[in-house]
């Protein structure tokens, strides 16, 4: 690149920065919106199941039945919101959504417990299938413990057996927030890259100032570069700001090194810019650009492993996710934040991110000059 090209790019970058930062609304989008969204997502996206609203129908009302109910409440997973001695009330509570789970202890529970054995019924509202699965698991565990304890006390169960000691690494308290907040960072940065690149180019086209740039000595390559540099700088800045907020506000542990995150972020932002430029080549109006962004972003987030583990998807969709930069970046961010992963652990993700970024970039570079002329 000649010295003159460098000068042109420098002046263009200055102009772009000024244009981006001048408008109050754009400033809000750049600096305030990501922080607010991190707060909203950080609090709302939470799959921890604690204090499930539980309705108890205790038809036995004995010391034994109360002990079973206590076994439920003492874990912290269940909170009793209502009691009754009529099963119909339980149905009502579930229908109205006042309780998500019901325990029904039959008449003669204490007697049968000492005799032939008994059955406790619990009803779970399955409309939220994930919460229900977890709640069901907890409830079965509690009843099993209770049964084993009683059997051992009664001398019916010989000592011994197998004790399972579970330990969770990386996130000992199993808080879903630690997993979700780093992922929100990835989604927000992609949104920022797309929004600023695609809209910046299309706005010039709509306003007719793109034609002015065409007659200037700026080459299409130089134009792409000078549109991209300010966005990349802003995206990196946003990434740092949200990451700091995640660590300081949400107390997400950053176990790994920011030095691993930086190259990953650069590749990811490069990919985002390339997609943004590509969208700008297929959109005549800002509105079209905005819709195309949405059409790209929505599936990429769903298929990224943000809400749902990629492992649980059908094979076809697992293959599709390999071409999704968001998926690879989320794996890197989560690995670095929670596991302290380094390049050695994450090289496949880095490779995939690099391949995707450069492939889309190449495509955008080919298309961009053509659409500028047209």
């Amino acid at each position: 690149m000649s010295g003159r090209a460098g000068l042109r790019i420098r002046e263009m970058v200055k102009k772009e920065f000024r244009q981006l930062l001048r408008d109050r609304r754009t400033r809000m989008v750049i600096f305030v919106a990501p922080l607010l969204q991190l707060l909203l997502f950080g609090y709302a996206v939470n799959t921890d199941i604690r204090n499930t609203d539980t309705f108890v129908v205790d038809l036995d009302a004995t010391a034994a039945s109360r002990r079973l109910v206590d076994a439920f409440t003492s874990t912290g997973y269940f909170e009793i919101v209502g009691r009754s001695d009529r099963p119909a009330d339980l149905v009502r509570a579930l229908d109205h959504g006042d309780a998500l789970m019901g325990i029904e202890i039959p008449r003669g529970f204490a007697r049968d417990l000492a005799g032939d054995g008994t059955v406790v019924q619990f009803l779970v509202d399955g409309t939220e299938s994930n919460s229900a699965t977890i709640t069901l698991g907890y409830a079965q565990r509690i009843v099993r413990r209770f049964a084993q304890q009683r059997a051992a006390e009664a001398g019916g169960l010989p000592p011994g057996g197998v004790d399972l000691r579970a330990r969770a690494w990386y996130n000992p308290n199993l808080e879903s927030r630690a997993y979700n907040v780093p992922a929100v960072i990835g989604v927000l940065i992609m949104l920022m890259c797309l929004l600023l690149t695609a809209l910046a180019v299309v706005r010039e086209r709509e306003l007719g100032t793109l034609d002015q740039l065409m007659v200037s000595p700026l080459t299409p390559g130089e134009l792409m570069l000078s549109k991209s540099i300010p966005v990349a700088v802003i995206a990196l800045f946003d990434l740092a700001a949200v990451a700091v907020l995640a660590v300081l506000w949400f107390k997400i542990p950053l176990i790994g090194s920011p030095l691993v995150l930086l190259p990953a972020a650069l590749l990811y932002i490069l990919g985002g810019l390339a997609v943004g430029l590509l969208i700008s080549t297929v959109s005549r109006t800002q509105q079209e650009a905005f819709m195309s962004m949405f059409l790209f972003l929505q599936p990429s987030v769903i298929l990224s492993g943000f809400f749902y583990p990629v492992d649980s998807m059908p094979r076809l969709f697992r293959w599709i996710t390999l071409g999704n930069p968001v998926r690879h970046f989320l794996e890197i961010v989560r690995g670095v934040f929670l596991k302290g992963a380094g390049f050695l652990d994450l090289w496949p993700q880095f490779l995939a991110l690099a391949v995707l970024a450069f492939a889309v970039l190449a495509f955008a570079i080919v298309r961009f000059p053509k659409t500028m002329a047209g």
């Binding site: 579930l94 406790v120 698991g137 079965q140 057996g161 004790d163 997993y179």
Partner: protein, 371 residues
Amino acid sequence: MNRTRLFAIARKEFLQIRRDARSLYLAFVLPIVLVVLFGYAINFDIRNIRMAVLDQSQSAASRELIESFESSGYFTVVARLARAGEADHVLGEGRAKLVLAIPPTFAADLGSGREAEVQLLLDGSDANTATIAQNYADAIVSGYSTRGILRGRTVTLPVQAEPRVWYNETLESRNMIVPGLVAVIMSIIAAMLTALTIAREWERGTMEQLAATPVHRLEVVIGKLLPYVGIGLFDVAIATVLGLVMFGVPLRGDVLLLAVMTLLFLVGALGLGMFISAAMRSQVLATQVAMIATFLPALLLSGFIFSIASMPWALQVLSRVVAARYYVSVTKGIFLKGVGLDVLALDGVAMVIFAVVGLGLAIRVFHKEIA
């Protein structure tokens, strides 16, 4: 209100949508894409969890335990480790989500009636999967344990748990997602299409022309809303039919009640979109504001995927003013629970209020704009 003028406005709006290929795509293809993605790709049903085994016992008993993990269908053994140190690597690189460690003394302890201990190391970074995996593992080990110590004897445990799941008996996530998705799709229509309709007229300068015609503002607002209500209802129908036919989602309640509630919610959401459009006067700004006002709450605070009960207190309070929350409760109630208006009365009132407020805001702001 004059019917000819009303339909003229509706027809003009309809033609405008039809000419714009991307809007059409958004209106008709996106709902299908979303239903298919959410219905096929997304599954909260956690299966085939990748696990590694560190079997230091190498006995018939330890192999039997591993076998019961494999045969459960929840776990796939992807690695057999030789040393404890390797656990760190398989979890760190994410090759396995959990490691089952069976100590050398396992078989001897079991044989002599002492309590044998096995360790489960979980990758806790994905808390949700880890919790579910732990529950499964606990049930498997417990079953194994009881079988083992009772071998040759017939003692049953004094209490059996009999779990029953209501409304969504097989706990399929698509059953919960498809009804909720309808709310999200409609908020997308409101944010991406309706939010533009008046801002576009302002930007193109056709608003003054419209104001100069004898059209009453009520006719403009309702006429402009009509095509979008049509699109919205069409989308709901597509999503519902896809859900019922492709994914076997049950529809247990009253279809008519669902239609009425949907219409109310649609009018509210579209009215809100139009209000934002008229107030912002710029297409890009209106779209962004509408995304924040309709799409984000419908996605995050409606209970569509994320349980409201798990949210902090402040967000729970905030979700009370999110119309989508009541609508999702209506759709889940009608699709899955099969309940009627007696249970959904409160949500129904919320729908009526939302529709009146949405439409009222649109008409009011329009009046001020023209004047």
